[in-house]
């Protein structure tokens, strides 16, 4: 589903990613872990199409398309979803308005008809329940005045409504207490499917107790320095990132 080959990315003159290779197949859950500043969030943003990053080498194929050639909205309509580390507040735009506009954009792109307000509400109600959100969330401005946990739940709600093929969750666990973490994880697990792939970007192993990955990759110095199964995450929990740092520094050298 996703093939990242030798991806190099800079911000201005500063190289951030220095040759990422990653293959993700449908149905798989990948965790990308690493210390602060390792380039995890950059990778997530580049996949979603954020401007301001220069891809200097390499390629990203997604469902046999050149992902990097697509606008952010085209990627979203093709099934790519990024759950933001810091979801934006948008005063004056109701949550329901964003969800419905987004869903209908995707439906039109797939050649399906738009959902009217009633059908949409039916669709969204079950998803709200999944995330323990009441209907009043729909009528509040997007993320405005939401707590940290509510913002993250709202991201997963958007994911549940849009039903992406490839979901990238950027530090979805950060700032969550244990109860919120459980709710968010339950939501994410419910969305696992053989047709859907997920990439979890996280600093801590904690999230992976709840969402068990098939593959774990350690990103350091802009490269993947170690890949393994779910047990690698536990090893990192015990030993920290320090033991991988020499490899990371070596890898970062041009």
């Amino acid at each position: 589903m996703l093939e990242i080959r030798n991806l190099h990315v800079s911000i201005g003159d500063k190289p951030i990613l220095a040759g990422i290779d990653l293959s993700v197949r449908a149905g798989e859950v990948h965790a990308i872990m690493g210390p602060n500043g390792s380039g995890k969030s950059t990778l997530a943003q580049v996949l979603a199409g954020r401007e301001g990053y220069a891809v200097t080498q390499g390629s990203v194929r997604y469902l046999d398309q050149d992902l990097l050639a697509l606008t952010p909205e085209a990627r979203a309509r093709a099934g790519v979803f990024l759950a933001f580390q810091y979801p934006l507040e948008i005063p004056g735009v109701a949550n329901v308005q964003l969800l419905r506009t987004a869903l209908n954009s995707a439906r039109l792109a797939r050649g399906e008809s738009e959902l009217d307000a009633m059908d949409f509400l039916d669709t969204v109600k079950g998803k709200l329940a999944l995330l323990g959100m009441d209907e009043s969330f729909l009528y509040r401005a997007v993320n405005e005045g939401f707590s940290g946990g509510e913002k993250k739940r709202n991201e997963i709600l958007q994911m549940a409504v849009l039903e992406p093929r490839l979901a990238i969750l950027d530090e979805t666990d950060s700032g969550l207490d244990i109860d919120a973490l459980k709710i968010v994880s339950r939501g994410v697990n419910a969305l696992k499917s053989p047709e859907r792939a997920m990439i979890l970007v996280t600093h801590y192993q904690r999230l992976l107790n709840y969402i068990v990955p098939d593959h774990v990759h350690v990103l350091a110095g802009g490269r993947i320095v170690r890949s393994g199964g779910a047990s690698l995450a536990l090893e990192l929990e015990d030993r920290g990132y320090g033991w991988l740092a020499p490899e990371a520094q070596e890898g970062a050298r041009p």
Binding site: A48, P72, S105
Partner: protein, 437 residues
């Protein structure tokens, strides 16, 4: 003022003087205006707005508005036959007093002692004699209006009257190079309350000058919600002053929405003359294409325990220019005054300009005052967030502009006029903007 230009104003005066009252007082007002000339940059209050183009235009009094002689019932066949004298009076959620080219073209409205009619036909009324010209102040433009006005709305609410419908004063301009000096007088006696809407429209691309004076007198405990929607022709000049005199415990809430005209200069002067009086002056302007929109607010806290609030939103796109110049003066005797100014603005093009000048002048130390003003661009992080959800870039920007304007619609809460305003606003949003990035 050069002789040529002065002669246009004299001609206009001669043209109308046969059909109006108080000719001597009007002549004096004209002479004072001519001695002063149009306001220019020498006046600090006119630092941002020039009216030079009016000096080089052959302006005339509206021809259709002079005849018939006074006393002809409004809505006479003569007036009805003028095609421009037919503003769309349907579609307003309330009662409508319709004007065209400065002249009343609908029937007067009277319900019990509540009256809404042509001001020209009530110049003899006691309340009119008492208040007309007493509130507006003597600027060059109010003098010119005093000399040349022919008609406008007269709204009189007796004590404790509460019309259950909003009153719309609707004006359509359609005569090229006409100068229209509408004069409105609004009197709410003690305890009365009303919702008044002024709506200005014009025939597309017709140049004219609308110079309006609205005087408002609020008695003790009276409450007026006053909405002004400006959708003048794209070639029109709109200058106006709303002047408000407030008695004890009266409340004045203005919402000004400026969406049209080549140049619009709107002034609101409020005198919080007695204790407990409060005003809220809100507004939204959109200055796109080459439009110039200047709002000038002046609130005078002249008595203790008076309150003023200002919440303004502005957008400038294309080569548009917006100005928000607001002064709040708290006089020495106005202890426990409470004043807040807030102005948020969006600059949507590198060629657009917004000038924000909130000013507090405080002459005693027992007050609560504050102001905040921002000029920013559309937040590209918000745009990306929406795009990442599959909403295309233009639609994302449109959604954010609508959301920004939405804050102005919230100010209409409680008036029941939100649904009426919404499509006007939506149609005026500068959606096809240049991306400032």
């Amino acid at each position: 003022m050069n002789t040529l230009t002065a002669s246009h104003y004299r001609q206009a005066f001669d043209y109308i003087s046969g059909a109006v009252d108080e000719v001597d007082a009007r002549r004096q007002a004209l002479e004072r205006f001519l001695a002063q000339g149009l306001p220019d940059v020498r006046d600090e209050d006119w630092k941002y707005t020039r009216l030079d183009h009016l000096d080089t235009t052959l302006l005339h009094a509206p021809i259709l508005a002079v005849s018939p002689a006074r006393g002809t019932p409004a809505g006479s066949p003569l007036l009805r036959s003028d095609p421009s004298a037919a503003p769309a009076v349907s579609g307003y959620p309330g009662q409508v007093l319709a004007f065209a080219n400065g002249r009343l073209v609908s029937a007067a409205l009277q319900s019990g002692a509540v009256l809404a009619d042509s001001l020209a036909s009530h110049t003899g009324a006691l309340a009119v004699k008492r208040h007309l010209g007493q509130v507006a102040g003597e600027s060059a433009l109010t003098q010119l209006n005093a000399a040349l006005w022919q008609d406008g709305a007269y709204l009189h609410l007796p004590a404790d009257s509460h019309p259950d419908q909003a009153l719309f004063v609707v004006h359509t301009a359609g005569e090229a190079d006409a100068m229209l000096h509408l004069r409105h007088l609004v009197i709410l006696e003690a305890g009365a309350s009303a919702v008044l809407v002024e709506h200005y429209t014009g025939t597309a691309d017709t140049p004219y000058w609308n110079n309006i004076v609205t005087e408002i007198v609020l008695g003790e405990g009276a409450r007026l919600t006053h909405i002004v929607l400006t959708e003048e022709s794209a070639a029109a000049t709109h200058t106006s002053r709303v002047a408000v005199q407030q008695a004890r415990d009266s409340i004045y809430h203005a919402v000004s929405v400026s969406l049209g005209g080549r140049l619009a200069r709107r002034e609101v002067w409020v005198n919080l003359g007695e204790a407990g009086a409060g005003c809220q002056l809100d507004g939204l302007f959109i200055a796109d294409a080459r439009r110039h929109v200047d709002h000038h607010l002046h609130v005078e806290h002249a008595a203790p325990h008076t309150t003023s609030r200002q919440t303004w939103r502005g957008m400038a796109a294309g080569r548009g220019r917006g100005i928000f110049d607001a002064r709040v003066v708290v006089q020495p005797g106005a202890q426990k005054s409470d004043a807040l100014q807030s102005s948020r603005n969006l600059l949507l093009s590198p060629h657009a300009e917004i000038d924000v000048k909130p000013q507090l002048e405080i002459y005693n130390d027992d007050v609560k005052c504050g102001h905040g003003a921002t000029v920013g661009q559309l937040d590209e992080a918000q745009v990306f967030y929406l795009r990442s959800r599959g909403i295309d870039a233009d639609a994302a920007r449109a959604l954010l502009l609508r959301a920004f304007a939405e804050e102005a619609l919230v100010l209409l809460k409680g008036t029941g006029l939100r649904d009426w305003m919404e499509p006007h606003l939506a149609a005026a949003l500068p959606i096809e903007m240049e991306n400032p990035a």
